[in-house]
Symmetry: C2
Subunit: 335 residues, 2 copies
């Protein structure tokens, strides 16, 4: 055992070693006012020798700034949220922020409250909401959250949002199908308390309206491939449609499976469009036509916007990111 003093070196240790005052060390760390280059060198050398690391907790305490961005995500391991979180972390770290991510165990009130108060206790300076379920926003309102927050959310316009324009994404999917000549287009939607699901469905309805097509009652799913499969088995017994727009690629994937089981050819008998463009989409059977979302870009923008707000800068252009339709082999003209 060491002489029982495994205390990490602090700013005073560094100061002593460099022969300066602790304040000078602090100044070097925060490269604030002018320091004689020679003094700075001495301090840096001392830091190096002692393996000193600033204590973030002490910093946070005295500045009352945690330099932490909270992230609330759904407990889903899906490609989208996971990609976004990684991008957020990377962008935040580059700016000297860290993130604290929580994953909602369920979408009920208690779970949301728990996540939120956990983040607030850490003194997060800002919040990113990825699990953009409606209830999360209600909770934010209710707790009168004062920190700036953004949602990687569905619709543009409604303050606090880094929009990926999912309505437009839905519209493009439907327009593509309509242009191919489909008239009976079904929608397998996501859970309706998700703003994304809602927006994609609105895009579906809008585009049908624009094309003078009959809207059909959407099937409300749960984002999973399994749902797509079982819903597909059910739906295909009627087969009163020629195209399906699924609210995400997983459900589309499940639906493709159901088509195979039913002996139907895609896109010969049924056209299928997904949403997200997960990396697997290009290799499904058949390769899936889908709407591409750039989750990483959205994550980066969220951070950028929050940091601007924290610095008191006017929020820059809030243009929604345009969705991009990726046409592959799961769509064709109906016969």
């Amino acid at each position: 055992m060491e002489p029982d003093k495994p205390r990490a070196p602090n700013i005073r240790d560094v100061a002593a070693r460099a022969g300066v005052s602790y304040q000078t060390v602090s100044r070097v760390l925060n490269d604030s006012t002018a320091i004689r280059p020679e003094t700075r060198q001495r301090v840096l050398a001392a830091i190096e020798e002692l393996g000193y690391r600033p204590n973030e907790a002490a910093r946070a305490l005295v500045t009352s700034r945690s330099r932490t961005i909270g992230v609330i995500s759904a407990q889903t391991a899906y490609y989208g949220p996971a990609t976004a979180i990684a991008a957020i972390e990377t962008a935040a770290r580059r700016e000297g922020y860290r993130i604290s991510a929580t994953y909602l165990a369920s979408s009920d009130r208690a779970s949301i409250q728990s996540s939120l108060s956990y983040l607030l206790a850490q003194g997060v300076e800002a919040l990113v909401v990825i699990a953009s379920q409606v209830r999360v926003f209600e909770a934010l309102e209710e707790l009168a959250v004062t920190v700036p927050y953004v949602a990687l959310a569905a619709t543009t316009g409604v303050g606090h949002r880094v929009a990926f324009d999912q309505i437009e994404g839905g519209r493009r999917a439907i327009r593509h199908l309509a242009e191919l000549g489909h008239t009976e287009i079904l929608h397998i939607a996501g859970p309706q308390d998700w703003t994304e699901a809602d927006a994609r469905m609105r895009g579906y309805l809008q585009a049908l309206d624009e094309a003078d097509l009959r809207p059909r009652a959407p099937v409300l799913g749960d984002w999973t491939a399994s749902f797509g499969y079982y819903a597909g088995l059910e739906l295909l017994r009627m087969r009163d449609f020629t195209a399906v727009f699924a609210a995400n690629d997983q459900m589309a994937l499940g639906f493709l499976h159901a088509c195979r089981d039913a002996g139907l050819d895609v896109p010969g008998d049924v056209s299928v469009v997904g949403f997200d463009d997960i990396p697997e989409a290009a290799h499904l059977a058949p390769p899936l036509t889908t709407v591409r979302q750039d989750f990483a870009e959205v994550g980066r923008r969220a951070v950028e916007r929050l940091l601007q707000e924290l610095r008191g800068e006017p929020p820059a252009d809030d243009a929604a990111i345009a969705p991009e339709l990726v046409v592959r082999a799961s769509t064709a003209r109906p016969h």
Copy 2:
């Protein structure tokens, strides 16, 4: 504007309101020594009224315990790591810990160092390594990291590991194929600087040896579906094999795509086994036989084990989690 004092309430405000000393409030918060129930009630009421939240930074400072577990993950949005991280966060939060996750931008030395020192600066009490690339461990050694750490790693036995026995997983995959009668079995491996990839390949080689089958030079992949696809196109030109074991489901999925392009039937012409059992695996064409990993369970165990170590308890049984072969429709007898 408020009378410019938006300072969050602190322990002394609560004390004043409840008519006790700040120390009593602290005791209530840490429910330490006995407190008269009536006093406790008064304190809790005051906390409620003021909307008081303990300042974690101050706590961390004075106790010199950050109650933070650091996580180092690869910059991949794959199902496995994402699931594990979510599970780790949930488990840690339940125990009063928070996590700080970093995502490696690349696998080079600088990136690893940067992540690591970032986490250490936050005073993490423990580390979970998910991106179990060999270089990460080298960096841990080199920086003489003193906090306990575990890797959600490949092989059992080698200290610091919460093992999911991937060697055994690989063996089971191959045994399954061998029992079906396959003798020419190919392996599409993962990047060899990943311990997981290495372990799965060792399982492959071991099982071949046990079955007295000829090992074949593995194809070294990068975990992606695209790689599986292009490698598949190449490999299928020879077709000197009847079965393929891919080191993860994504590469298997890409390989299935290649088989379709080549006009081959799976499992009629080629059998395919994957690894991980991603949620999509059951709905691929055909549904994929694969080795199931319970990422969430591994994540929970990692947290459990680290907390035991932090509490000074002897580490509990370190048995590797047994992998489970899930047989679906992508494997059959060769003809």
